[in-house]
């Protein structure tokens, strides 16, 4: 395990929050392999904090489904089977569809602008900018959750969004897939623009279901 770079003090005053972010990023980027063990002391020394905030971070990440904690035996990056990932996407398509539906009635013009800009940025990214695509994609989806503004929906959706990430590292490497996602995002945006709740729900649901198909295929190989 190798966490690149030194410790960056967080905007949020809490050290554990910083550790959570660093570890989460390392996990969803696949820099720490599924199944790999993570030791408290190692992370602590690499990030320049004591074991206390690291332990706390482990608990948070375990609650998000990214780690498993066996009492006395330490933390491992959680392993999901292809079937697990398929289920997650199916649930996610329902949840995000629902989020899009709620968002349609609440979204402000300013938030619509942010969504459009996200679409444009994604389209502007060159083929092969895998991690940039990933980031922009997360931004798009998270924007919609934040429109709904329900804490629990946001939690749930975020987990469903993050858990499959280690397994779709090179999803964006295929230009055809990227193009399809661009169009899907535009379709969601268009529905929200005219505040059509049902169309937004359907567009989002199909989008996520499609992605789930692709990812399952990729994993199966």
């Amino acid at each position: 395990m190798q966490l690149h770079g030194g410790y960056v003090p967080q905007a949020d005053g809490n050290a554990n929050a910083g550790v959570v972010e660093r570890l989460r990023e390392a996990i969803v980027r696949g820099e720490i392999e599924p199944g790999e063990r993570i030791r408290e002391a190692e992370v602590a020394s690499q990030l320049g904090v004591s074991r206390t905030p690291v332990r706390e971070a482990f608990l948070v990440l375990a609650a998000e489904g990214l780690l498993t904690l066996q009492p006395g035996k330490g933390a491992h990056v959680r392993v999901y089977s292809a079937e697990d990932i398929r289920i997650v996407h199916e649930v996610r398509s329902l949840v995000e569809g629902c989020a899009a539906k709620f968002a349609a009635d609440r979204i402000s013009n300013q938030q619509l602008d942010l969504l459009r800009e996200s679409c444009e940025r994604l389209e502007a990214l060159p083929d092969g900018a895998v991690s940039d695509c990933n980031e922009e994609n997360l931004r798009f989806h998270n924007l919609i959750f934040s429109v709904v503004g329900n804490a629990q929906l946001m939690h749930v959706a975020r987990h469903l969004l993050e858990v499959p990430l280690p397994y779709k590292r090179d999803y964006w490497s295929d230009p055809a897939r990227k193009r399809r996602s661009e169009l899907a995002h535009r379709r969601v945006y268009a529905a929200l623009l005219v505040r059509d709740a049902l169309a937004a729900e359907e567009a989002m649901r199909e989008h996520v279901a499609d992605v789930g198909q692709d990812v399952s295929q990729v994993i199966a190989n």
Copy 2:
């Protein structure tokens, strides 16, 4: 805040797990009011542990949406508006419907027996046994998640199931509502018995949506 009874050492070796359970129970039962502040030292002394496992428990419960943590300012029982609870139930109906669908293909005869027994126990409970009903109800729903056996689905569903509990304390006090839930559980069971995935999904979805309606009404008053 008052946590009744002394500290019970956990089967699971970790003290924080025990604290999580105790606090979770106190919150979902409404023994600690939404919005109420919880202090680390107070909980620690009441449960006979140090502040460390209590802090850890706070993080877990915050991740479940039951607490809010403001850095430097402590923990409060999370407050949800009636609208929030409505949204949670809508999402929950989708997620649990999906869980029921998956369960139909996987459920064993033994698990079916457990479900039937849960139905019978609920029906046998007298009107007014509010907390027993609540408990039995949780058992029924959790059984179905455990059939699917997907860690992330289980996390998500559990959160959606628990968050509204402080707000539906006296849901079961109305015999008519109890009777309706009994029938709904039977309907889900019947669909699973014949492994009819679509029927199970629909039955569960309607059941949860109905409950959501009722709860919203209760809160609104």
